[in-house]
């Protein structure tokens, strides 16, 4: 148990975000991840197909230029943006918060 007030509850995912996203081939996909009470933890995105780390905080680790992290300032939304989507982009994506143990939210992307 933690001694800091709030450390037991946060961070929390906003459960209202879409967990199943469908996009047309060639269009831009936006995968949303809203996290409250983030504190000093980091939000990262991972692609499950090959366990590729895509973004870490505001840093885009993936060299594929189609991937970017969009963090709109006043909101708590860490959006993974995938431009010019291709069929092979379909699959499971994980938004992960760096607590110990980590906490995750999963989004399935369909490209049609």
């Amino acid at each position: 148990g933690g001694s800091l007030a709030g450390s037991e509850s946060g961070p929390l995912f906003d459960s209202t975000t879409e967990r199943n996203v469908t996009v047309l081939v060639g269009r831009t996909a936006n995968l949303h991840c809203r996290v409250r009470y983030l504190g000093n933890r980091t939000v990262s995105w991972i692609r499950h197909r090959d366990v590729h780390i895509l973004t870490v905080g505001r840093y885009t680790y993936a060299s594929d230029q189609r991937f970017t992290i969009v963090k709109s300032r006043p909101t708590e939304d860490w959006t993974l943006q995938i431009k010019f989507t291709q069929a092979r982009d379909a699959g499971l994506y994980e938004c992960q918060v760096s607590t110990q143990p980590h906490r995750s939210q999963f989004i399935r992307l369909n490209v049609v």
């Binding site: 991972i46 780390i53 840093y59 680790y61 060299s63 760096s98 110990q100």
Partner: protein
């Protein structure tokens, strides 16, 4: 991201060896990379997908995890006081396009 211009793309110099570590001891995973250039080495526990570190930054809030590197060739993930839950597959990855990776199994034995 900015990537240093280089004639060679990064590649692994040798396999990432599996490790067997006694409970409570220290585990050191060494990833050997040639021609890293401006690319970065990342560590992730590939079974649980827990991100461990990117480059010189530890991402996990697991206080037993640290990273160390020797030049741009040897990149290490160090886990102190190894616990049973640390057992599993660890992946060293490089952010080339396509991404390059190799995995090793960390086995924890109880004396």
């Amino acid at each position: 991201m900015a990537v240093t211009e280089s004639r060679y793309l990064p590649e692994f110099e040798r396999p990432l060896p599996n490790q067997t570590v006694t409970l409570g001891a220290e585990a050191v995973l060494s990833c050997h990379v040639a021609h890293l250039g401006g690319y970065k080495v990342g560590w992730i526990k590939s079974d649980s997908k827990a991100i461990q570190a990117i480059h010189t930054h530890v991402i996990t809030h697991n206080t037993r995890v640290t990273v160390r590197h020797f030049g741009h060739t040897v990149w290490q993930l160090i886990i102190a006081d190894v616990q049973r839950e640390d057992e599993g597959l660890f992946m060293c990855q490089i952010n080339t396009d396509p991404m390059k990776s190799q995995v090793a199994y960390l086995r924890v034995v109880v004396p």
